[in-house]
């Protein structure tokens, strides 16, 4: 286990559901819940209902792709109320070390117990491209800061907490196929050294390439120092698959999977203007079925890889897909741990 885990023996670091399941050796399932671009809490409740019971915890994104949305802690509060466990995503793009620490104190007081530390998508991708960014600290320094608040009971400046310290289960991201690829396992090692208790990877579609990455991870012994959750997500259409392959850095989508998506819609293979609305709806349903099927297979293959502690299912704006994926992969019902939190 990571240094901080080892030093606390058997007691939990944060006592979150996610931590307790992982510590007991369960194969974890996390999901993703994107807050709305509005102040409407109903959307969060609806999405939470779809994810409850099929995920052990759900990531609440933090102005994902640099588009302004309800804050992750605000949305996370609603998720807690709905009886689902949030993983608060915290980026370095919009907040300096003061704001991050202040927000995390609030998040802990509101019942949140997991944090995923990210550098954050650059603001040039979002809806406020003329904004000034922050990047006071980077994701590794953020991991170190949040772990330090818990384990050393200190603020980033070194001052000690006089009252309750925030005790989070600290997560970080890994992009196994982003460049420079040879450096990626070592960057993961740095995140673990900084204090990352769990890792969620970028979307995995290429099992062979992920296997090579995990082999290196095992050689370095990293899988024994943190919990690695492999990122998966259902494809919605051949177009989406091709877009991800060609346009998203660090994503490998094998042609065989793209072909399967194309084949799934082959019955409707004629010029666009000859397709009726019903045709398009049926084709989309066929694609989505195949996307879910592929995702289930990926989860099953990933589960066989030594050192993988769970899956992180990213069904962006398609939360309905998470249950059939988890179910199809034999991951339901989710284990419930009935014990008082220390």
């Amino acid at each position: 286990m990571a240094e901080s885990q080892a030093s606390t023996g058997n007691s939990y670091l944060a006592g979150s559901n996610l931590e307790r399941l992982l510590r007991r050796g369960h194969f974890a399932v996390t999901g993703e819940l994107g807050p709305p671009q509005s102040a409407d809490g109903t959307v969060i409740r609806q999405k939470a209902a779809l994810l409850k019971g099929c995920c052990d915890a759900v990531n609440i994104t933090d102005n994902q792709t640099a588009i302004v949305r309800m804050s992750s802690i605000g949305a996370g509060t609603i998720v807690v109320q709905e009886g689902l466990e949030p993983i608060i995503q915290m980026t370095c793009r919009d907040r300096n070390r003061l704001a991050i620490q202040a927000d995390l104190l609030g998040a802990y007081a509101l019942g949140m117990r997991n944090v995923l530390c990210l550098s954050g998508d650059h603001q040039s991708f979002g809806n406020h491209p003329t904004a000034k960014n922050v990047f006071d600290i980077d994701s590794i320094q953020l991991v170190h800061m949040v772990a330090g608040m818990r384990d050393k009971r200190i603020f980033e400046c070194g001052e000690e907490f006089k009252g309750q310290e925030p005790r989070f289960f600290v997560g970080a991201a890994a992009a196994p196929f982003a460049d420079p690829v040879a450096y990626r396992p070592y960057r993961l090692a740095k995140k673990i050294k900084a204090g990352a208790n769990f890792i969620q990877t970028q979307l995995i579609y290429d099992i062979d390439a992920f296997g090579v990455f995990m082999e290196k991870v095992r050689t370095l012994g990293l899988h024994e120092q943190t919990y690695i959750l492999a990122g998966v997500g259902p494809l919605k259409s051949p177009g989406m698959a091709r877009y991800m392959k060609n346009n998203v850095p660090g994503l490998l989508v094998p042609d065989a999977l793209i072909d399967r998506m194309v084949q799934a819609g082959a019955a409707w293979d004629k010029p666009q203007d000859e397709l009726t609305k019903e045709d398009k709806r049926a084709r989309s349903a066929a694609w989505k079925d195949e996307g879910i099927k592929i995702c289930i297979e990926l989860v099953q293959q990933i589960r066989q890889i030594e050192g993988v502690a769970g899956v992180h299912i990213m069904a962006i704006e398609w939360e309905e897909a998470v249950r059939p994926i988890a179910d199809g992969a034999g991951l339901l019902p989710r284990p419930v741990i009935d014990e008082p939190v220390a």
Binding site: G120, D136, D138, A178, R187, P249
Partner: protein
């Protein structure tokens, strides 16, 4: 060097406004080398303004002069008479040059003709790229001489984010990924171990975040002991 770009003639015209006698002041240092505000550019801007204002029906008296360095008052003293004789000074220096004129000639209205862009170097004929962000606490010794503060879009200190692909930064294919460059260079020089150490949060106090900066060298000051 300091790299700058000329403002559009329209913007310059609106900055000049009603002034009749305009002195365009070029600078013989950085902005000469980057072809933005040297003697040649000053003469062209002056001629363009004369022509444009004449076409607008209100021909202005626009002259030009270039000093060796606008950012040092002693060079500005050489053109004090011309500056005093003008209604308005259009500086083709960097932002420092504009302010040096404003500080040295408190009663004179001075406007910028350039946008000061960055500190960098020419990478090929006609192309300049940023290299230094003047953070005040140089990290180049850790990164093989490639600056992640100035050249990584997120100023990351602990390696590349997930947006590095094929050697470029995800925000723009024309921007090389600084961390790919650092990785390649450290790899070639057998110093990859430098990338394994965790760099702590940076002290931004020495950067602009600590407020406006100033360096005082007592060993060089004249009559400092009297102060």
């Amino acid at each position: 060097m300091i790299v700058a770009e000329q403002k559009s003639l329209d913007e310059i015209k609106s900055l000049i406004g009603d002034a009749e006698r305009v002195l365009v002041v070029g600078c013989g240092t950085c902005v000469t080398v980057c072809f933005a505000g040297g003697a040649r550019e000053a003469a062209i801007v002056a001629a363009s303004l004369r022509m444009a204002t004449k076409l607008d029906g209100n021909g202005k008296d626009v002259t030009d002069v270039t000093v060796q360095r606008q950012c040092e008052w002693e060079y500005l003293d050489e053109i004090a008479e011309q500056i005093e004789g003008a209604d308005l000074v259009l500086s083709l220096g960097c932002g420092i040059g504009v302010q040096a004129i404003a500080e040295h000639f408190p009663r004179k209205w001075v406007v910028p003709g350039l946008n000061t862009s960055f500190m960098g170097l020419p990478t090929e004929q006609g192309v300049w790229a940023e290299r230094c962000a003047a953070c005040g606490d140089c990290v180049l010794g850790l990164t093989g001489g490639i600056c992640p503060i100035a050249r990584c879009s997120k100023s990351l200190l602990n390696g590349p984010c997930g947006g590095s692909e094929g050697g470029h930064c995800e925000i723009n294919p024309d921007i090389p990924c600084a961390w790919q460059l650092i990785y390649d260079r450290l790899s070639a020089l057998g110093k990859l171990d430098l990338l394994m150490a965790i760099q702590p949060p940076k002290n931004w106090k020495t950067s602009r975040d600590g407020g406006p900066r100033k360096i005082v060298r007592d060993d060089l000051r004249l009559g400092a002991e009297e102060e």
